[in-house]
Homo-oligomer: 337 residues x 4
């Protein structure tokens, strides 16, 4: 049994708490939050002791691993604390608000030698995993063109967007990571075209809600990612990888499988209403991958370095959006994943 | 060049006239009809000489082949005349209104040795042909269950239905033929359940508009055919063949390939509005098959004997509908196709 | 909280135990089995006290409801005991091995007034529920033709089949129930054609592994159900309801949503490998429906009477398979669901 | 009847000849080519008089309209001649090899007042037409993101590519036109990322075989077009238009509609083997549109100005590929289509 402390008892903390409770090899021993009431609510439902005291959590005699699901500005501090305590750690993205700070944290954690993972949950999507398996097996030949769509159904609150770092850092970064994960390459340049079409307020703080990013891989392959904050037809996530010999697609996922035939057409079930319905199973899969890799002493399924490199792409993409130019991506000592 | 005479200048005659005119190896020399105006209208558009004189047509010095697309009650007479004149002949189904008469005609034509084909056009459907190719190649293993749907969008006029011989003889007979063609077996029994749901008038003359026929093959395989006169969603034709190793399906055919995504669902193009839109290409394909087989001296793509055997199944099916029992199918000297 | 006792700790008992443990309004207090080791294994994982003593279970001071998942021959006895103890009860099908015995049990339970449900789990399938919702809302108009496929991937062991009561009672009965549930009608006749194609041994005890049943509804509508014990392409379950105005389909369910494009075709994910992968979510949904209806004092989502009527259809279908005739279905005092 | 002269008797000339011959309101009176043998071969098959003399063709007493399907370098000259002779004219793209020359030609033809059309045949694709109808009717709301794929199955000969003007002018230009046609907007900027992945020789003359172009519309909407010279899975053409309220897709078009189910997956028919199989029906549709608009005195379905504007986008796109920057598109006096 691995003894886990969960940090953060908000919406996503609750998701992780449920998965931690259900995992046969996990013992949820602490639920930490700065708000004891929130921590207690989760602890009551899913087990563990509620605490507001970090010293409870970062204690290698009581805890084997911490799961950081607290607010973004606390990730770096908690990662350092876990490293110092010699605890394995899985952390929601981003590692830190700025790339520079993130780099410092990653160096610190790497130096400590603790086992660490960024919770890039989409790497654990059932269909994306199968797509990657086929690509890795040479099923489509050398990769030439990748297309990804990341489209949410509803605009998040403008107050959230204002502090989110922008669409590319907040939303697209998951797909920058998928780009590296699927192709095994670190893209060299990125060019972004974006607009604020849903809410003009967003443009006031330099952000966009609809964008297309185009990346070039060292092999010459091209990756295109569109990011949309609000569709009129549900949650739309989709990946296509075209190689020299064929194409594989992780398709749009309908919420059900019913078809109504009429003279007007054939209407099948809509896509999932929200992002959570689509990605929910990936959280448990990511947790299992972490638990298994930790137990096996294997490589991290998504290292902090992976998190850093995705963040580096997001930085260059954000710069391209501002400059209107193709930007070179500056990795800090990166090698391809 | 094969010199053709077309008999019958109605709706389906016009379809054949256009295909005869377009075929590079065919010379349409006569358009015969009892109504000279109708014959002339077609001849004007598609070539050939209009005539109301059978002697023009059944003349081996001027004509190589006749295409019988006249009214059902004239098929037998024209088939005999073609045989007597030594002309190749392709004939719309049925060979004759009664099975007994049809048998006499087939014997007569077979004795003459002329090349003959029943225009079972669905044998030439692009997708059905591919389905049969896979079945014949063993792609699904030994056939165990076949399902076919034959569903028209609108009820034909009741006056037509009254003289049609009934749904099983008029509509389902095409699929009784497909059953033999696909499986290579002569079904031994048939059991039919049917209702007049669209128009109660139909029940008055013992007919149905919605029916399910279940046939047993000598191998033990089962074939199920549903026939519907009126759907609320267009023309629906579909075949599934399940074997021991897999299943192949000639799918419902949408009229186009457009999809509209909304919160209510994903609406793709409807099925074809009418049967003709679906089967139109099969007529030209059937004609080509006839022309090629005639030129090559090969076997008929759909012999009169095939027509007779499909008719025998339709007779037993019609009897089953009346008796409420499983009926044995009586072929007259048949071997499997 | 409703206090449940689970009866039966085999494969399906374990499925129910997991769902009982996860349900927020359920307290699993006893796991009963004749084998204490099996009962204890489940109780260890999912809670409750293991017991081999029926007196523990049928005790209204400690238990509110019993879930009967024990072997088929014990259902009747446990149902009677629950009724006598005044406990709510949900029971796996069938109620009893023979229709006559089942009728006696249902009368007994009905007389007791306890809340009871047959676990016809397919009534709780996500897609079937949506199909029924549309049918009930008039979305396809009056029902004219229903088609259902029930096709398992692998032949169960012959020893199991020998005592199963035959394909129609064991497998198709779920779909006889769906037929009544979807249409709201009690079919009046049934005609079955079947073969033993997978294993000839099955024919020796009068059973089949591939069959087509055709039922006629009082409205004249026709229902066709094919049942297959072994496909070469995974688990295939599918329902189509054609009405006067359109058609609705609960489609074949692929296990994933990935597509590989090559010159040979477009290959999408296969169907589920087994029946359990397909129907797993229905068990939790059925349990929730039972819990909710019990709490609300509402009608049973699937009454014992429903179980009895489905069994009556299976009896007539089994008779038709033997007689080769269309058989009238004899309900014992039934009204449509 | 409109009297047509066809200029050019090569592969695409033969396609047009067949359509001209089949059109009920067209009289094909001349087939012109610099090679009399080629002209005569077409005239023999499809009617008209073969000629190598331009004076025969540009003669308003004998001809109403000319169809320019000759080599690209002759388009401008033939367009001017048609204008001078007062003949209606339909012309394959491009109008002239350089944008400057094309502008001069369009001014000349516009000054003459003759009815003229660029044969942008994809505007007449069955599914694209339906997509545009829905967009125009507001079916997806204001357009926010358009995605188009133009992917051919096999690399054209390098000798052809060397003189083709490059992928963006030769292949993508059709989709630059569709972009304007669908959105009713003239894009303001374009940014292109491209690679020579199929054959490195192509890079030697500055061309690419795989590229992604991103355009910005005046409304802020974004258009993304990928162009691929060689896939491993057939001809792939696809358009998606996402608006504020939904998304409409003109889908990849399979060559047939057959599905094979096995344990390995569900394999449906591949895409069309070549571009011609996919677009063949658009040529006849474009011709009909021209004939109808000419007869009605209506606006051109695709004016020379449309051709010019698509060419202007292709110029800017080609410049972007070379510069690595987003380029502003310079139209010469254009208004949106």
């Amino acid at each position: 049994m691995q003894r886990f402390a969960l940090l953060g008892a908000g919406f996503i903390g609750a998701v992780h708490a449920e998965n931690l409770a259900a995992h046969p090899d996990v013992d949820l021993v602490f639920v930490y939050d700065i708000d004891l009431t929130r921590a207690a609510a989760l602890a009551d439902r899913f087990g563990g002791k509620a605490t507001t005291n970090p010293a409870d959590v970062f204690d290698a005699t009581a805890v084997d691993a911490v799961f950081i699901a607290s607010s973004t500005d606390t990730h770096a501090e908690h990662l350092r604390a876990a490293a110092d305590a010699g605890l394995a750690v899985v952390c929601e993205k981003p590692i830190a608000p700025t790339l520079h700070e993130a780099e410092r944290v990653v160096e610190h954690v790497e130096a400590s030698g603790v086992f660490a993972m960024v919770d890039f949950n989409r790497r654990f999507d059932r269909d994306h995993v199968e797509l990657k398996r086929v690509v890795d097996a040479g099923g489509v030949g050398p990769v030439e063109l990748v297309q990804m769509s990341s489209r949410g159904p509803t605009l998040p609150p403008v107050e959230y967007l204002r502090v989110s770092g922008g669409q590319l850092r907040d939303q697209t970064v998951h797909f920058f990571d998928l780009c590296r994960w699927i192709t095994g390459e670190d893209p060299v340049t990125v060019s972004v075209t974006g607009s604020a079409l849903v809410d003009p307020t967003i443009a006031e703080f330099g952000d966009v809600d609809t964008s297309v990013a185009v990346l070039r891989l060292p092999s010459g392959g091209i990756v295109q990612i569109d990011s949309v904050r609000r569709t009129g037809y549900g949650y739309d996530e989709r990946i296509e990888v075209m190689g020299a010999d064929g194409l594989i697609e992780s398709r749009r996922q309908p919420a059900a499988n019913v078809a109504l035939y009429s003279n007007a057409g054939i209407t099948t079930s809509p896509l999932h209403k929200g992002w959570f319905e689509r990605v929910q199973p990936t959280y448990a899969a990511a947790l299992s991958a972490f638990v298994d890799a930790l137990a096996a002493g294997g490589p991290s399924p998504a290292s902090l370095r992976d998190g850093l490199n995705a963040q580096a792409i997001a930085e260059a993409a954000t710069a391209s959006l501002a400059s209107g130019k193709t930007e070179r991506i500056a990795y800090e000592g990166s090698a391809a994943p």
